[in-house]
C-alpha cells in the first residue's frame, strides 16, 4: 500500500500558467491483477562489483520536485530492488547490463535501483526495457546513481516497451567532485511514457552530459523532464535532446538548467531539436533557465520544424523516395547519440526499432 499516486507527476521545476497543462502529468495506476515482475534483470556475473537486494538510502540529497512523487511511490511498492556497488578505483572492462523483459507472467515492474560508484571508478551501466505486445504490462521505476570523486560513469537507458504499455521512469544522479556522468537515453516505446531525470552536480568541477533521443509515432504520448542542477563551483553540464514526431504523436519536453547560488564559474547548455513529420503532431517544449548565481554561463536553444528542404531535395534528386530520404535525415540527426550506445547488439536493435517506428507512423505494426 502507498499514500502516493501517479496522478500529478513529472512536475515542471517552476510552475507556470495552468491553461498550458504542462505543470505535471497524470498516468493511470496499473491494474490490480497484474502479475508482479519476478525475474532477475542481471543475467551474468560481473567481477569486481557487488550486487545486493539490501537497499540503503545511498543518496544524501533529497529528490527534487520533478521526480519526488515517483520516488516515493516506488519506495513503497517496489517489485525489484537492487543495489550495485562499484568499488573505489574499480574500472569495468564491460558494460553492466540490466535487462528487463516484461511479459504476461512478469507484467508489473516497479524497479528501485541504486548504483553507488565509488571514487575513481569507471563503468558503463545499461538498462534495457522491453515488453511482449500481447500482454498487459506496466513499468514504473526509480534509479539513483551516485558518482564518486573522479569517477566516470555512463548510464544508458533504452525504453523499447511495446506500443500499448505504460512507462514511468524517475532517475536521480548525484555527481561528486571532478566526477563525470554521461547519461544516454532512448525513448522509443510505450503507449504513454513519462520520464524524469535530475542531475545534481554537487562537487567542485563535477560534470555531466545528458544525451537523449526520442521518436514517437501513432497516438503515443511522451512526457520528458530533464533537470541539470549546478551546485558546486566550476561545474559543467549539458543537455542535448533530439527527437522526431510522426502520426498523431504528442510530446512534452521540459528541461531545466538550474544554477544554484554558489555555483561560481558553472557552465551549462541545453538544446532540443525536433523534427516533425506530420501535421497532426503535438509538440510542447519548456526549456527553463533558472539562475541564482551571477558568475555563470548558461544558454538554451530550441528548434522545431520539418526536415531541411535542401537536404530532402538533394537526397530525392539522387533517386531516393521522400519517405526514405526523411528516414535517412532522422537517423543522421540521431546518429551521434545512437553511436554512443553499447553494446553493439543494443545499438543495432535501436536502429531497427527506429526504422520500425518511422515505417509505422500511423498504422499498427
Amino acid at each position: 500500500m502507498t499514500n502516493y499516486s501517479l496522478a500529478e507527476i513529472n512536475k515542471l521545476q517552476v510552475p507556470t500558467w495552468r491553461a498550458l497543462k504542462i505543470n505535471g502529468i497524470s498516468i493511470g495506476e496499473p491494474a490490480a491483477d497484474m502479475t508482479v515482475y519476478a525475474k532477475n534483470p542481471i543475467e551474468k556475473n560481473y567481477r569486481g562489483i557487488e550486487i545486493s537486494r539490501d537497499m540503503v538510502e545511498g543518496t544524501t540529497e533529497a529528490a527534487p520536485l520533478a521526480i519526488r512523487d515517483v520516488k516515493n511511490y516506488v519506495k513503497d511498492l517496489h517489485s525489484t530492488r537492487l543495489h550495485i556497488r562499484i568499488p573505489e578505483g574499480h574500472v569495468m572492462d564491460e558494460p553492466i547490463i540490466l535487462n528487463f523483459k516484461l511479459d504476461r507472467d512478469n507484467a508489473l515492474l516497479i524497479d528501485d535501483i541504486l548504483i553507488s560508484a565509488a571514487d575513481e571508478s569507471k563503468a558503463t551501466i545499461v538498462f534495457r526495457y522491453t515488453s511482449e505486445e500481447d500482454a498487459d504490462c506496466f513499468r514504473c521505476g526509480f534509479t539513483a546513481l551516485e558518482v564518486g570523486r573522479n569517477a566516470d560513469i555512463r548510464l544508458i537507458k533504452t525504453q523499447l516497451l511495446s506500443h500499448n504499455h505504460k512507462n514511468v521512469d524517475a532517475t536521480m544522479v548525484n555527481v561528486a567532485e571532478k566526477g563525470h556522468a554521461n547519461i544516454i537515453l532512448a525513448e522509443l516505446g510505450g503507449e504513454k511514457s513519462v520520464s524524469g531525470y535530475s542531475v545534481q552536480l554537487l562537487g567542485e568541477a563535477a560534470s555531466a552530459d545528458l544525451d537523449s533521443l526520442y521518436m514517437v509515432n501513432r497516438q503515443r504520448e511522451l512526457d520528458i523532464n530533464y533537470r541539470m542542477a549546478y551546485q558546486g563551483k566550476s561545474t559543467e553540464g549539458h543537455i542535448n535532446v533530439k527527437g522526431a514526431l510522426l502520426g498523431k504523436a504528442k510530446k512534452t519536453a521540459k528541461s531545466t538548467l538550474d544554477f544554484i547560488s554558489g555555483a561560481a564559474n558553472a557552465k551549462g547548455h541545453e538544446e532540443e531539436t525536433v523534427l516533425t513529420f506530420s501535421p497532426d503532431v503535438i509538440n510542447i517544449s519548456a526549456p527553463l533557465l533558472l539562475c541564482g548565481e551571477d558568475n555563470v554561463s548558461g544558454q538554451h536553444a530550441t528548434s522545431v520544424g520539418r526536415p531541411d528542404a535542401d537536404k530532402l531535395f538533394y537526397l530525392m534528386s539522387r533517386g531516393i523516395s521522400k519517405e526514405e530520404a526523411e528516414k535517412l535525415i532522422a537517423l543522421a540527426a540521431f546518429s551521434p547519440i545512437i553511436n554512443s550506445i553499447e553494446p553493439e547488439e543494443l545499438r543495432e536493435e535501436m536502429i531497427t526499432v527506429l526504422q520500425e517506428v518511422m515505417d509505422n507512423a500511423e498504422e499498427l505494426c
Binding site: 510552475p15 554558489g262 519548456a286
Partner: protein, 468 residues
C-alpha cells in the same frame, strides 16, 4: 587581482516619489463588496448593463482561486484596498484648469511639455479618474477619437458594449475579474480606416492615494489600414502601505493596420502591478509591444497577441530591471491562429541587489496556423548572487509547418568581447560601457526619443570592472 563589479545604479525615483496630500472628493470604503461595486457604478451614472457586468465579475472574482504560479501574493489583502478614489476635478482639456498640485505633478513628470513637442494627444489619470484629455485638432478632424472611458461609455456606448472585456473576460483570471468589478478611468481610442496618426497618443496614469487600487481600462480600435503609436506611462509615490494596480488593455487591430503600444512602467516599490493586456490582430495587421518594467514590488505582466488573421504579426520588445526587494515576472504570450502568421520576441533583463527578474512566455501554434514563424530571444544580466533571473518559456506547437526558434542566454559580459574592443584602442571602461549599452540598445531604439533618454537616465551605468 580582484575584479571590481560594474555598478548599476538604482532607478532615481525622486521625481516619482513626491506625494500630494490626499484630497479625494469621493472614495469608497476599504474592501470589496457588492455595495462598493454598486456605489462606483452609481457615482459614474453608468448604464444598467455595465452595472450587471460589474456584479457578474464580482461573483467570478469570489469563485476564482489565487494563481498557483508566479510571485507570492500573500501580502495582498483586499480588505485593506480602496478600489475607487475620485479627485473630483472633472475632466479638463486645459492644464491650467486643473488644481495646482495635480497640474504640478504632471508638470514634474514632463507630460504637458511632451504634449507640446511630440504627441497627437494626451490623457492623464489621477487616482481613479481621468483629469485631463486632449487631442490635436488635425486628429479630430480625421475622425480619430481619443477620450476617457466614461465619456466613451456615454457617447459611443454601442462600440464600447461590443468590445468591452471581450478580449479579457472576467473569467481570464482572478485579477481580471476584480478589474471587471471595480474598473475606472482609462482611455478609448478609435482610429478610422486608412488614417495614420503621425505622432503618438499618450496616456499617463498616476496613483497618488495611499492604500488605493487603480483599475483603468484602455480600449483601442485601429481600423483597416490605419496606423497608431500609443504610449502608456505609469507611476506612483512610495508609501508604506500596499497599492494595487490591475488595469486592463484591449487592442483591436484590423486588416492591414499597425498598432505600436509602448509602456514605461515605473510604479513605486509598494505597488502590486497585476496588469493584463491583449491584442487581437486581423489579416496582415501588426501589433508591436514595447515594454519597460522598472518599478513595483511585484509585477505580473504578459501582453498577449492573438494573431487571428492570415499574415498577422506581432513583435514584443521588453526590458525588465529588478532591484532590491522587487520580484518582476514579465513576458508575453502569442497565439498563432491563422496561416502565415509570425512573431518576434526580444526580451532583456537586469537584476541586482536581491531583485528577481523572471521571463515567462507562451508561444502557441494552432493546427490551422500553417507556415507560422516565431523567433524568441531572451538575455539576462545578473549583477550579483543575491539576485535571481529565471526564464520560463513554453512552446506549444500543433502542426508541422511551423518554423520555431528559441534562444535564451544568461551570464556576464564576455571577456573576449572586452579584449577585442581593447585591441582596437578602446579603453576597458569604455569597452564595457559599449557592451552594456549594446545589451539594452535593442530596447532603447524602439522607444520614443524622450523615453529612450529617460531609460538611459534610469539605468545609470558606472563602468568600473566587469559585470559579475
Amino acid at each position: 587581482m580582484e575584479l571590481k563589479k560594474t555598478v548599476v545604479s538604482d532607478v532615481d525615483r525622486s521625481i516619482y516619489d513626491i506625494a500630494n496630500p490626499e484630497k479625494a472628493k469621493y472614495k469608497v470604503n476599504k474592501g470589496l463588496s457588492k455595495e462598493i461595486v454598486m456605489a462606483i457604478s452609481a457615482e459614474k451614472k453608468e448604464p444598467s448593463w455595465m452595472l450587471e457586468h460589474r456584479l457578474r465579475s464580482l461573483e467570478i472574482y469570489e469563485k476564482l482561486p489565487m494563481p498557483a504560479w508566479g510571485p507570492d501574493l500573500h501580502m495582498l489583502d483586499m480588505e485593506q484596498v480602496v478600489t475607487y478614489v475620485s479627485p473630483g476635478t472633472g475632466m479638463k482639456d486645459n492644464w491650467q484648469e486643473l488644481p495646482e498640485e495635480i497640474k504640478l505633478t504632471f508638470d514634474r513628470l514632463g507630460i504637458p511639455e511632451a504634449e507640446k513637442k511630440a504627441l497627437s494627444g494626451v490623457g492623464a489619470q489621477y487616482d481613479s479618474e481621468v483629469v485631463y484629455h486632449n487631442v490635436k485638432e488635425e486628429m479630430s478632424s480625421q475622425g480619430v477619437i481619443y477620450t476617457d472611458m466614461d465619456t466613451a461609455l456615454r457617447e459611443y456606448e454601442d462600440i464600447l458594449r461590443a468590445h468591452f472585456m471581450q478580449l479579457l473576460p472576467a473569467s481570464t483570471h482572478k485579477f481580471m475579474a476584480l478589474h471587471g468589478a471595480v474598473w475606472s478611468g482609462g482611455s478609448f481610442v478609435y482610429v478610422p480606416e486608412g488614417v495614420e496618426v503621425s505622432m503618438p497618443l499618450q496616456s499617463y496614469f498616476r496613483l497618488n492615494a495611499p492604500g488605493a487600487g487603480q483599475f483603468e481600462h484602455t480600449l483601442i480600435i485601429v481600423e483597416k489600414g490605419a496606423k497608431l503609436h500609443f504610449i502608456e506611462g505609469c507611476s506612483a509615490p512610495r508609501y508604506n502601505v500596499l497599492n494595487l494596480h490591475a488595469g486592463g488593455v484591449e487592442l483591436f487591430v484590423k486588416e492591414n493596420a499597425t498598432l505600436r503600444y509602448s509602456t514605461i512602467e515605473n510604479w513605486s516599490r509598494n505597488m502590486l502591478n497585476l496588469n493584463s493586456k491583449r491584442a487581437v490582430v486581423d489579416k496582415n495587421g501588426a501589433i508591436e509591444w514595447v515594454s519597460g518594467t522598472f518599478g513595483s514590488q511585484i509585477t505580473m505582466l504578459y501582453p498577449m497577441s492573438i494573431l487571428k488573421g492570415e499574415g498577422a504579426r506581432s513583435e514584443f520588445t521588453g526590458i525588465t530591471f529588478a532591484g532590491e526587494g522587487q520580484n518582476l515576472d514579465t513576458g508575453t504570450k502569442v497565439v498563432h491562429a491563422a496561416p502565415g502568421t509570425s512573431s518576434t520576441v526580444i526580451s532583456k533583463s537586469i537584476s541586482k541587489s536581491g531583485g528577481k527578474a523572471t521571463y515567462r512566455s507562451a508561444i502557441v501554434v494552432r493546427p490551422e496556423a500553417t507556415g507560422t514563424k516565431s523567433s524568441v530571444t531572451c538575455e539576462s544580466l545578473m549583477l550579483d548572487s543575491d539576485s535571481r533571473s529565471d526564464t520560463i518559456p513554453v512552446m506549444d506547437i500543433r502542426n508541422d509547418e511551423a518554423d520555431i526558434g528559441h534562444e535564451a542566454r544568461i551570464g556576464r559580459i564576455s571577456e573576449e568581447a572586452i579584449f577585442y574592443l581593447m585591441t582596437r584602442g578602446i579603453g576597458e571602461s569604455e569597452a564595457k560601457a559599449l557592451i552594456v549599452r549594446g545589451f539594452v540598445e535593442p530596447i532603447t531604439k524602439e522607444l520614443p526619443l524622450e523615453y529612450a533618454v529617460e531609460m538611459n537616465r534610469l539605468v545609470t551605468l558606472e563602468f568600473e570592472g566587469s559585470i559579475g
